[in-house]
């Protein structure tokens, strides 16, 4: 049986979740591997949430916020972006591929772009394989 990754997508209420919603309204399909968690702002997603997801069976995590400059709380998406950057280094340090953690910036009008990103994310993680049993630290 082929490997089906579990991917957690933290989506901010104002933009990324809006894009997912729009994709739904347009009847666009996206991989069933994606589990969306709606958050008020991507800046609400802390390191702990992301790491908890990986420690509890996620094979990939993406944090999706508004386009830069469009955050409804001014800088939440920038903070989320910084956190993701730093966390990717910490994941690399324990031997986990940084590609498993991504930050996306999209607007609520970008329904089909959202689908594209989710498809791409799923393809990348599927190719990487599961986290569990993928080998020891570097």
């Amino acid at each position: 049986m082929s490997f089906e990754p579990r991917i957690i997508a933290f989506c901010c209420h104002h933009c990324a979740y809006g894009a997912a919603d729009l994709a739904g309204v347009l009847r666009l399909q996206y991989p069933a591997n994606i589990r969306i968690i709606r958050v008020p702002c991507s800046g609400r997603v802390s390191e702990e949430h992301i790491l908890w997801a990986f420690a509890n069976g996620a094979d990939g995590v993406c944090v999706s916020g508004c386009l830069e400059g469009d955050c409804h709380y001014q800088s939440g998406n920038l903070r989320a972006g910084k956190r993701v950057r730093i966390l990717r280094n910490r994941l690399w340090d324990i031997g986990l591929e940084p590609e498993r953690l991504r930050m996306f910036n999209i607007s609520a009008a970008m329904g089909s772009a959202f689908i594209g990103l989710m498809q791409e994310m799923t393809d990348v993680i599927r190719a990487l394989g599961p986290v569990a049993g993928s080998g020891g630290a570097r």
């Binding site: 702990e48 990986f54 420690a55 340090d93 324990i94 031997g95 986990l96 986290v131 049993g133």
Partner: protein, 222 residues
Amino acid sequence: MILARPRQVSSILAGLGGARRLAVIGCQECVTVCQAGGRKEVSCLAHLLRIAGLKEGLPLMVTEATVARQCDTAYLAPLDPLVEQVEACISLGCGVGVQFIAERYPGVPVIPGVDTVGGGGTTAPGVWEERCAMCGECVLDQTAGICPVTRCAKSLLNGPCGGSSGGMCEVDPDLPCAWEMIYRRMKERKSLDDLRSIRPPKNWVSSRSGGLRRVIREDAMR
């Protein structure tokens, strides 16, 4: 406060030596402020260790605990039942905390989870700077409240050296020259004459050369 920065998780993993039941122990004081060892850092490190175990296919059992102060045995006592259950502890306290835990549990290996940097404070959000090297004999009264031991790259007591240029230190062009700062503050205070007096060599015996230093207050003793 004591400044510390997180150690790489890979080096912590390398120090585990086969231990699979672990306690990650944080401290609510200084290391919480400089975001190296508080409750949140404990949780992040515990998760990173769990993920590493998951990857390896050999789960690590990681328990999290954060105490008010690791450098105070009274706060360590509640950890006894937890530490009894584990094969190694990772302390996110400063070097003092690590040693207090190792002293209380001599049979359990304790791995430092942070590198302890020194005495300092917050200078901007996300920035912490050293201010005191804990030399044991303070000269701040003679240097307009700016510590030359810590802030001058050569710890000069009678500066500046010939390398001071444009207010910056020759050792690092981004480092303000401590003695230029001292000069400016003395000038501002109209006490530039203080700069003329030669500060004699410091008594370094009270610094790092005489073994363990102690602070004793008889009136606080039993």
